[in-house]
Amino acid sequence: MSANLSATFYLISGILFILALRGLSSPETSRQGNYLGIAGMVIAIVVTFLSVGNFGLGFIYVIVFLLIGGSVGAFIAFRIPMTAMPELVAGFHSLVGLAAVFVAISAFLNPDAFNLGSLGNINLASLIEMSLGAAIGAITFSGSIIAFLKLRGIMSGAPITFKGQHFLNLILGISILILIFYLCRSQSSNIFWALVAISFLVGVLLIIPIGGADMPVVISMLNSYSGWAAAGIGFTLENTALIITGALVGSSGAILSYIMCKGMNRSFFNVILGGWGATEQTNSEKSKEQKPVKNGNADDAAFLMKNASSVIIVPGYGMAVAQAQHALREMVDALKKNGVKVSYAIHPVAGRMPGHMNVLLAEANVPYDEVFELEEINNDFANCDVAYVIGANDVTNPVAKSDPQSPIYGMPVLDVEKSKSVLFVKRSLSPGYAGIDNDLFYRDNTLMLFADAKKMTEEIVKNL
């Protein structure tokens, strides 16, 4: 196949990828969008085979490896529980990163195959592109592995910080640039390996100081990095499909990171440079004095909600941990039978990744037109009889609106306290991730339900 023809097909697959993302503007068009994405991928792969034109034994091996990887991927995709989506996405990011590193390595070792010059005499521009691709890919890989381990609970979600951490990262970042400079001058493979090794280290160091609840930002950021790595390789290979895709994915991840940071009212750098937790401990100790709390049980909760005319459900990460989404759906069904109007309110940073709560509710067969974003529903709390907070905490804390001293001051929160009564399902009175006490616990209209989210919801269903 001629180079011009294959370039045209790569452009087509790039356009199909754009349409795949475009489809996600509404759930109705999204499934069709996904098929367009698959079509784009098939075109890209077939065109690559035709343009290489080598259908010998190597081709058979390629197909075999493709099918091996494909069956592993398909197996994972069908078996993974929806609550494990964050770690799955982190794991997948690490694979893209590592694939980018491998492609860069083989381009470096065999530049003739890619028309980049010859070994030891690679074009300057290609060398810069492939070393950037390799470095970003390596950072994506090791960073995503750390994110995966933290989300999976294999590694503690607590931020790991040490003295001089940022300085060390800075030094390593600068040394990557210096290595790329010397690589261009000497074309030495030792420098290339050193570059890859240091980038792996940077990925680890970048993610370990970031705490568990900041994971939505981390995952979005790694999503973005995997795109930039792909774009870097795309420049090396002079491949339009890869360049377009890399740019799309890079900007998508960047936008998601921005939305997540805004949802916490923090700057991107504030998140990247280390967690809340550490500095706020003094604050929570100060407020340890006993304040009266109203304590309820499933019976009270059922009575309150049955006699309400409207109920808003506020789910959070705790719902995912307790796998309470199906029990919640049963509760809502029972309430609807009693003529209660029920809707769901989702905070942008609820859960461990963007849109995490929406997927879990969709899995439990909650229709998506009953689920609302913060701006859409926040005014409705004032007219609502009961707010049922299940597994959320910091995102409901009224302190964010009233106390300029508070670390979460200015963060957009759900106006849960404005509803006539609040049912707050929580295992204990312990503060949330931000390490600050939730003022909501001590309000007159709040009834605390101390239990596991799933067990409590099931109890309420029995009492309805």
Binding site: G58, L66, I76, A99, N110, G250, S251, L256, P348
Partner: protein, 100 residues
């Protein structure tokens, strides 16, 4: 004076960032998780580089060092392509409207 082809590719890159920016802002927040899994799947189009690398070996020696990295990259990217698109499909199937 002729324009370096790099500038053309760079133009495509910059324009695609803008396309991505506007397209992604129009994605509804409730589909942000499928957005991440599908971007993950499409970024595995890096498999084209892996295929070129894997097929670069001579017919006598299919597994040269550089081709081995290509084959490894094919496996990784294939996991992502199949896994990413299928899990996205699985999620999107679950989004249903209220029954009237």
């Amino acid at each position: 004076m002729e324009i370096d082809p790099f500038i053309f590719r760079f133009s495509i890159f910059i324009l695609s960032i803008f396309v991505g920016y506007y397209v992604v802002w129009s994605v509804t927040p409730s589909l942000h998780t499928p957005l991440m899994s599908v971007t993950n799947a499409i970024s595995s189009v890096i498999i084209v580089g892996a295929i070129i690398a894997a097929l670069a070996g001579s017919s006598e020696n299919i597994f040269e060092t550089s081709s081995i990295f290509g084959f490894l990259a094919i496996i990784l990217a294939a996991v992502n392509i199949f896994g990413g698109f299928l899990v996205t499909q699985r999620m999107l199937q679950m989004y249903k409207k209220k029954k009237k």
